[in-house]
Symmetry: C2
Subunit: 415 residues, 2 copies
Amino acid sequence: MSGDDLDADLADAAAELGEPTPGLRRARAWLSRAVEPGTVDAWRFVDRVGPVEAVRLIRSGRAPARILGLVGARAQTDTSLADLRQAERCGARLLIPEDDEWPAYLLHALTLATAEEPEEPKHQADRTKALVPPLALWVRGPARVDELADRSVAIVGSRAATAYGEHVAGEFGYQLAERGWTVVSGGAYGIDAAAHRGALAADGPTIAVLACGVDRPYPAGNGALLHRIADSGLLVSEWPPGAAPHQHRFLVRNRLIAALTRGTVVVEAAARSGAMATAHRARRLGKQVMAVPGPVTSAMSVGCHELLRGTQDAEAATLVASAAHVLDVVGGIGVDLAEPAERRSDVRDGLSDLARRVLDACPVRTGVAPERLAAIAGCEVLEVLRVLPALELAELVQWTGTGWRLMPAPRARAG
Amino acid sequence: MSGDDLDADLADAAAELGEPTPGLRRARAWLSRAVEPGTVDAWRFVDRVGPVEAVRLIRSGRAPARILGLVGARAQTDTSLADLRQAERCGARLLIPEDDEWPAYLLHALTLATAEEPEEPKHQADRTKALVPPLALWVRGPARVDELADRSVAIVGSRAATAYGEHVAGEFGYQLAERGWTVVSGGAYGIDAAAHRGALAADGPTIAVLACGVDRPYPAGNGALLHRIADSGLLVSEWPPGAAPHQHRFLVRNRLIAALTRGTVVVEAAARSGAMATAHRARRLGKQVMAVPGPVTSAMSVGCHELLRGTQDAEAATLVASAAHVLDVVGGIGVDLAEPAERRSDVRDGLSDLARRVLDACPVRTGVAPERLAAIAGCEVLEVLRVLPALELAELVQWTGTGWRLMPAPRARAG
């Protein structure tokens, strides 16, 4: 970290645009405290002018009035260096979009969702529902976010879970972790804690996405559990060190749980609950939504059964009664299709119509963006994002760093 | 009943072809003991030559060898009159397809399924799986079969049910009966008994379809329950009085439970079980299939969850967590669409593509058979049979006694 002077750091960062310099990191640290996460306007402003210029414009009062209004008095304070140092003290760091480790592919669904929102502020979804990307992520733990999130499943549910729900969440967590999948949840009592514990019991990685600073895990009663997660997995939060778990922040946080994973499993949920909100966000992001059934006499399964029945505007969730069922959904196609290259034509035959169209849309050399694939394949971008992971697992397509293309043909085998 | 001489009765019946004369009834009584139910070849033979001629040909040894083989030594005995008298003694009667009361519309699905079977005997499904219509039904109780079956739902499940399953079956039975729906089940221990009891508790009609004679209800432990059903609802069986409940007969019987109802609800079922067989038969007959979820830790819910997940070759069953959900499925369209005639165009808008095509295929005056509607609408006959009840409930189509036509336009209202 460089000196105490924020402006000097910003000047350094401005000189090396797009590189994850200390100045850039400090700019995003400043923004993470100045701007409440989940604010579409603020994210768009930062996206347009860049984080360094965004900080300068806000601090000098030259940013648009709407943005200045969102930041308010925080524009005049700067605890960015203290925040970064406080993070360091507890073994945490600030991950920014400019880092290699940033889980860009998974979070891209949020970027797209934000792009689909109208520009007018009055039409924008409110902050608790907005599917806006994070400006930065405070991360505590030894693992890399991108690696852990690549094969991950969210297991969410009620805090007031029943013994049945906790049993199932623990079982799923254990079995998914045992098979190399990362269990992502919210660190809360009930289903969340049971899922994390299950993963830890299998010595598997698990991510708790928090609605407060990673240095002060909440709830306190899960302190020991959250410390164990920080030791082997990851605590992740959009809020800077010391941030308090205000109630609305949990709703804002839920979109991240959905976005960071391939799919969301709701184990137990009342009719209206945070877990249901996470499931709806996962659906809107084009991720898989799964639900565990339970007794129809249990209020804690009403939400799950609602998801399984579907509604007019939403496809029904997939019923999962075991971890194997979960893998059928999030990893099944890949595993089934991950056949030797010789059998590639058979693999193609096993694809859905949609997957085949997307595959046909992929160019041979230069990678193209999912938006472009959607235009060529004649489908929604979210649909493209839904099938790409399976095509990638089947080694049919490849991410070039800038876009998607067909996997280069395998070289002829010797002999 | 006429005299003891079967041949004389047959001669009388032959003189009045197609009328439900005592001779015709006696011919079918004879067949119901001579031919084991569920036999496709035998049903086709009777369908082709008529029941009276069928009895004559079999008794005189002039029937095809294959048919004579099926009947064997039973061809030389005749207890038809004794059977009819035994039925009468216990308040039962023999219902035959020539009777007005015969539930022709519901059972037509079986006729169609049999028509789709290949003619060659070696390709025919075995008797426990064959979707063949009954030759006659022994019926015990005060109600009319056609009236009770018109608005009916099957509730089936495991004999070794849990307290949870029995509770749900009883609740569903009670609530469906309370809303004027007939609960159909198999009279067995566990889910069946709970469903029947629930219906009786609401003073509603209920039908137990048995795999033995209606004069000797099985299982004995449910004797009191089955007698209560016979007092207010119906015991129904394809087997003549005194017939024993051989194990394979339960499987043969299951198709009747599926066929006599608009839909089948599986409350609890192990992976391979009679209830699952009933659900599969309901699906093949184009009837609605519903399942109640339960704890994923319960072996008794494994079958239900399988149905809800669906398989490659079968659509997933609908999750039902309440009697209201069941009515959404079997009666919902009708209720929703049963709007005043003025709103008929709106009603049309609410129809599925398929329903609209079938509606468009219906002629204004002369009723036509479902097969004809399927040909015009360009769909499967089973699909036609699936949407006709809803169209009828919505008062859009009408059964003329020989076929389906559009409901005549309502007369202009005075005032």
